[in-house]
């Protein structure tokens, strides 16, 4: 079995396991290449018809291209799309320039997710994070429990042997399920190429710049790049040395911002 097929099978196994264990789950779709790859695996796992909602957390600061892409493919792939927004904070003008970035992420992303989980009673959320993205994510489990306050107890994670995942929950808990944890950035692009997954145009170079990682507009900066096609992006990644999230503000504030965000329930 080739490398990409092996990665895909691993992911499908995890997705089906999560669905069996919890039934009431949702997949988080940020519209980026990783969560779209995850969504692709979900479609494969369920023969084209995903039997649970697809959740998009909208901070109101997303790129306009994101909304267009989202609505087009939600329709084409027959997704049960739920858009979650922290309306109160968006209306009160919360933003990355008001207070700290940490606070903004916590309110507009983490708390919006919290509210959506509570409203729909989801027992597990599928997330497209990868181990090679960040040192903190390198430490994640595939089935990662969160308590009622969303806390991640990273100092005492459950054992996870072979493909046996802890899945018991208490009333208030939920699980974060990470089906593509084992894929690298390059794996994702090679997979996107092989499967011909449609990818949002923000990743392609325009006037010498492109986004390598996308999130909210104010907190993402593009990189210098001439790569327009998926092939050119793959070519660029095999020669570059800078890391993927170099353009992401959350990772920069200090060495432990990401850890603090994640322990509070950030993705």
């Amino acid at each position: 079995m080739d490398h990409l097929t092996a990665l895909e099978n691993k992911s499908i196994f995890i997705i089906r396991e999560a669905y069996y264990r919890f039934r009431n789950i949702a997949v988080l779709w940020s519209i980026g290449k990783d969560s779209t790859t995850l969504l692709w695996h979900c479609r494969k796992a369920f023969f084209g018809k995903i039997p649970f909602p697809v959740l998009h957390i909208d901070t109101g600061y997303k790129f306009p291209e994101i909304y267009r892409y989202r609505d087009r493919y939600a329709k084409e792939w027959g997704l049960d799309l739920i858009v979650a927004r922290n309306e109160e904070k968006i209306r009160s003008g919360m933003g990355p320039d008001k207070g700290s970035k940490l606070e903004c992420c916590t309110e507009l992303k983490t708390n919006a997710l919290k509210a959506a989980i509570a409203r729909h009673g989801f027992k597990a959320i599928l997330l497209g994070i990868r181990r090679d993205e960040h040192g903190i994510r390198a430490k994640e489990r595939v089935f990662s429990p969160r308590d009622g306050d969303f806390k991640w107890n990273y100092e005492d994670q459950p054992a996870e042997l072979w493909d046996n995942y802890k899945s018991t929950t208490h009333e208030e808990d939920h699980y974060r399920i990470h089906p593509i944890l084992h894929m690298t950035e390059l794996d994702v692009w090679n997979y996107v190429k092989r499967e011909e997954i449609p990818i949002i145009e923000l990743y392609s170079s325009k006037e010498g710049k492109r986004y390598r990682s996308i999130g909210c507009q104010p907190c993402c900066s593009p990189i210098e790049s001439r790569a327009r096609t998926v092939d050119e992006i793959i070519e660029e990644l095999t020669t570059t040395k800078t890391s993927e999230r170099a353009g992401r503000a959350q990772d920069k504030e200090d060495a432990y911002t990401m850890q603090k965000l994640r322990s509070l329930g950030y993705m």
Binding site: R16, Y19, F47, W162, H182
Partner: protein
């Protein structure tokens, strides 16, 4: 380049240099992003001081402050030969469950031994775990050679101890290599400081390991779930061993009845005749309904039993006692279980059998046990079909032990 990536776990006693080695390996092979290196340099205590390569892997604030690894971290790099997934495991006894979590994913291991300390408690314990998990590709790295001025005599005297300690747990190291993780001697490049050593560098040792092959084995297909697709019942699961063929007659265990495979399904693929080991598929069968936990087989018959003999490693912080309620989980099967008899228990850090016919198993101990299950399950010996020969025991939903069927 080889298709599959090789998973390597890094083990050894506390502070013998596991994380430092991984950091150095990434740095010397150019796999570390420059700004990541800058971040580590800054976190190491600013200008002038030495760079703490362990920070590449030890990313939690608590880990850096305490100078230890708490949980496993996976990282990726590649050589001209293949891709690697490097799993850095913690050395503290307290975090043994994390070390086992990491090792359960590995096909080969690097064991670090600090030259000034020699074989210690966790060196032995980790070796024993590797042996139980069937990881037999092991390279021992005798680290911190810089501290002893790269002395060949010092290396030779530790080497003998290592060999005898490892053979005690049935591990036969492929190499014993002198290195300095912090300075990079013999990690990615051969070092003039260690000119007397004729063996491979760490990188060469890694490239000499082989991926576990896909042998031709009997079919084992544990049912994962059943989906209703427009009125058709589709059985989903992963082919754990062997292969599945359209039209073939299979046995449904534990009942032992037969069924015929009418169709193999995958999304966006038509007319599938065969599915190989590792593939997640859907199948439709001609007769009868199935449920999760049943196993489709062909050829060599698996063991169907309500009682199994196994080696278990106790990961929980609390000891096992006879009243403890357990759940046995192997592939997609699940059954309530009791440990009926402890034939012997031992502390892998010393390897001496503590007790025969014991009444308890303490944290971090290993025991040979007989487990009684509330219903029959389908298993194979670990040495025959590993996927079907390993399991987890849970207590109140918490994984407390791993087991290998003997």
């Amino acid at each position: 380049m080889e298709e599959r990536s090789l998973h390597i776990v890094i083990v050894g006693h506390v502070d013998h240099g596991k994380s430092t080695l991984v950091g150095r390996l990434l740095y010397d092979t150019g796999s570390l992003a420059p700004e990541k290196y800058e971040e580590i340099k800054a976190a190491s205590g600013g200008e002038g001081g030495s760079v703490e390569f362990a920070y590449v892997m030890d990313h939690l604030e608590e880990e850096r402050k305490r100078g230890i690894t708490i949980d496993v971290a996976h990282t990726f790099f590649q050589t001209a030969k293949r891709r690697y997934v490097i799993i850095d495991a913690p050395g503290h006894k307290e975090f043994l469950k994390n070390m086992i979590t990491g090792s359960s994913q590995a096909e080969a291991a690097l064991l670090l031994v600090d030259i000034t300390q020699g074989v210690r408690e966790q060196t032995r314990r980790h070796c024993c775990i590797l042996g139980l998990l069937g990881i037999d590709q092991v390279a021992v790295l005798v680290n911190k050679m810089d501290v002893v001025n790269y002395s060949e005599e010092a290396f030779d005297s530790v080497k003998g101890d290592i060999e005898s300690a490892l053979s005690g747990v049935g591990v036969n190291p492929s190499y014993i290599i002198p290195v300095s993780a912090i300075k990079g001697d013999n990690v990615a490049d051969r070092s003039p400081n260690l000119g007397w050593f004729k063996g491979p560098t760490v990188l060469e040792a890694l490239d000499s390991f082989s991926s576990l092959g896909m042998e031709d084995k009997a079919l084992r297909f544990p049912v994962q779930d059943i989906y209703d697709m427009d009125g058709t019942s589709v059985i989903v699961g992963r082919v754990e061993s062997g292969s599945m063929h359209r039209g073939a007659e299979v046995c449904v265990f534990p009942e032992g009845r037969t069924a015929r495979i009418r169709e193999i399904r995958k999304f966006m693929a038509d007319d599938i005749e065969e599915a190989a080991t590792g593939e997640c598929i859907g199948v439709c069968i001609e007769d009868g309904a199935l449920r999760r936990g049943q196993v489709l087989t062909d050829g060599a018959t698996p063991t169907r039993s309500g009682s199994i003999r196994a080696n278990v490693f106790w990961m929980a912080g609390r000891a096992w006692h006879p009243e403890m309620e357990l759940v046995w989980k192997g592939t997609t099967q699940e059954a309530r279980a009791r440990i009926e008899r402890i034939l012997k228990r031992f502390d892998p850090a010393s390897i001496e059998v503590i007790e025969k016919d014991a009444e308890e198993i303490l944290p971090a101990e290993v025991a040979e046990v007989e487990i009684r299950l509330e219903k029959e399950v389908v298993v194979d010996r670990f040495t025959e079909i590993p996927e079907m020969g390993r399991f987890v025991l849970e207590h109140l939903g918490e994984p407390v032990a791993g087991g290998i069927i003997i």
